[in-house]
């Protein structure tokens, strides 16, 4: 058997520790050990973006990060996006503008879209589409996704 590794990290500001095998991904641990199931597994090969999280402030696919690599890091998942009952403007605009259908891709898209708006509060439609190219939606709801992102961006700019 592989040696188990003792890992300590922050998730949404809270300290967590767990034991993991070297081949377990950060996604496996987020979902199965920390029971934060908002982060989804789509492809497990970095192609679909459903498992997008922020790792030390950087947008990544959590299926392409081993849990052992996350020692000492700070992770942000979809569970940390709303403030209590108050939804993030992106979340609210996705609801109001029907930016989701089945919802599997939605947590990853929200995390990726927030990362975009933190860098670029006023993206063009093209910029938003390119930024979100790594987030696949098999319900083909891209147009409403983009409209929701741009509406949230406008709201957050106070436009």
């Amino acid at each position: 058997m592989s040696r188990k590794h003792h890992i300590t990290l922050q998730v949404n500001g809270d300290e967590h520790e767990f034991l993991c095998e070297p081949q377990q991904t950060l996604l496996d641990v987020i979902r199965d050990e920390l029971m934060l199931t908002g982060t989804k597994e789509g492809c497990a090969t970095g192609d679909c973006g459903a498992c997008s999280v922020m790792l030390d402030g950087r947008l990544v696919c959590s299926c392409l990060v081993l849990a052992v690599e996350a020692e000492g890091t700070s992770v942000e998942t979809i569970e940390g996006m709303a403030s209590g009952d108050r939804l993030h403007p992106l979340q609210r605009n996705f609801l109001e503008l029907n930016g989701l259908q089945c919802g599997i891709c939605t947590p990853g898209i929200l995390i990726a879209a927030r990362a975009l708006l933190e860098k670029n509060p006023n993206p063009t439609e093209t910029e938003a589409r390119y930024w979100l190219a790594g987030n696949l939606c098999r319900c083909t709801g891209y147009d409403k996704v983009i409209r929701s992102v741009l509406a949230a961006a406008a709201e957050m700019r106070g436009a």
Partner: protein, 319 residues
């Protein structure tokens, strides 16, 4: 990042994992995997050199983890080099830049001076996967993965980039262009690690560019890729050029006739035609569902002239 066969295999691997190994990925062959994150390069080299089974360097992980997930490789040892100090920096050196082995693609894309000096290299980096993948992926990894379609390798080769390699016999400097050996293979020896990649200083009036053809605009694998790096004199005549083709042979190609076609010209129509013909003539591509042989040969010529023009236009604007 993967061939369809690997994807199909990946699905099987997932099914196997779910049915045999429970939900923690313990099933099947990867139970013996060892993970090490040594504090120094020497320790990393020793670990790799002493490994009995398959050992892999883990930097960004965007190829290695996918290959493990899809059962393409079953390493006994992963050596994570991200805890080694000094590898995650882009440092100005002799007018150029030294890019550490664990610097991510996004860190390169966000480095204004690097982007201004080597825009063609950045063209290639920007095409590596999604924002998420670039948040982890490294150019050293893109090189060492050995894919003939790696997007950063043709512009790095055209730029004259040099890899600093640390191994059991010490340190050596080797041109990036000399590292690829074929699909999935490199000329690195056992225990050798790319520590950094050096992009040299540029002469005045120089420009580089990289483009690829893919069926989709994003998130795809190059069917053909072309990088051009050139320098002009003050009157706009090309005085030196490097033209590197990707995805049209088992390794990148640098056909001498391509550079010859444009040196001494201002990229007049005749020169561009000769460049296109030379690029097409050099191709030795495979024939697969992403592009037939004939298509790749034609597109290599089309892209070569387009990319040369882009590099030329940049050279006229970069002082």
């Amino acid at each position: 990042m993967l061939l369809q066969a690997a994807r199909e295999k990946g699905n099987l691997a997932k099914i196997r994992r779910a049915t045999v190994g429970g939900d923690t990925g313990q099933g099947g062959s990867m139970t013996g995997l060892r993970y090490e994150s040594p504090p120094t390069l020497d320790a990393a080299v020793a670990l790799l050199n002493n490994a009995k089974g398959l050992a892999r360097v883990l930097a960004g992980g965007t190829d290695v983890i996918v290959q493990m997930e899809t059962d393409l490789i079953e390493p006994e040892l992963l050596v994570d080099i991200k805890k080694i100090p000094g590898l995650r920096t882009i440092v100005a050196e002799n007018g150029g830049f030294r890019i550490g082995a664990t610097v991510s693609g996004m860190e390169m894309v966000e480095h204004a001076a690097l982007c201004a000096t080597w825009p063609g290299v950045i063209d290639g980096v920007k095409l590596i996967g999604s924002i998420q993948v670039k948040g982890r992926a490294t150019i050293a990894g893109n090189l060492c993965n050995g894919s003939p379609a790696a997007d950063s390798v043709p512009p790095l080769a055209a730029a004259g980039a040099v890899a600093r390699v640390i191994g059991p016999q010490g340190t050596r400097e080797i041109a990036v262009a000399k590292i690829p050996a074929g699909p999935g293979k490199t000329h690195l020896g056992k225990g050798e690690i790319v520590e950094s990649i050096f992009l040299p200083a540029r002469a005045k009036h120089s420009g580089d560019a990289y483009e690829r053809f893919t069926p989709r605009t994003e998130m795809d694998i190059a069917v053909v890729g072309v990088a051009v790096n050139l320098t002009l004199d003050t009157s706009g005549v090309v005085i030196s050029a490097r033209v590197v083709l990707g995805a049209v042979a088992p390794t990148i190609l640098e056909p001498a006739d391509c550079a010859k076609a444009i040196v001494g010209t201002r990229l007049e129509e005749a020169a561009l035609e000769q460049l296109a013909a030379a690029a097409s003539a050099a191709c030795r591509p495979i024939d697969d569902k992403r592009g037939t042989r004939e298509f790749r040969v034609t597109v290599a010529g089309v892209l070569a002239r387009r990319v040369a023009q882009k590099a030329y236009d940049r050279a006229r604007h970069i002082a």
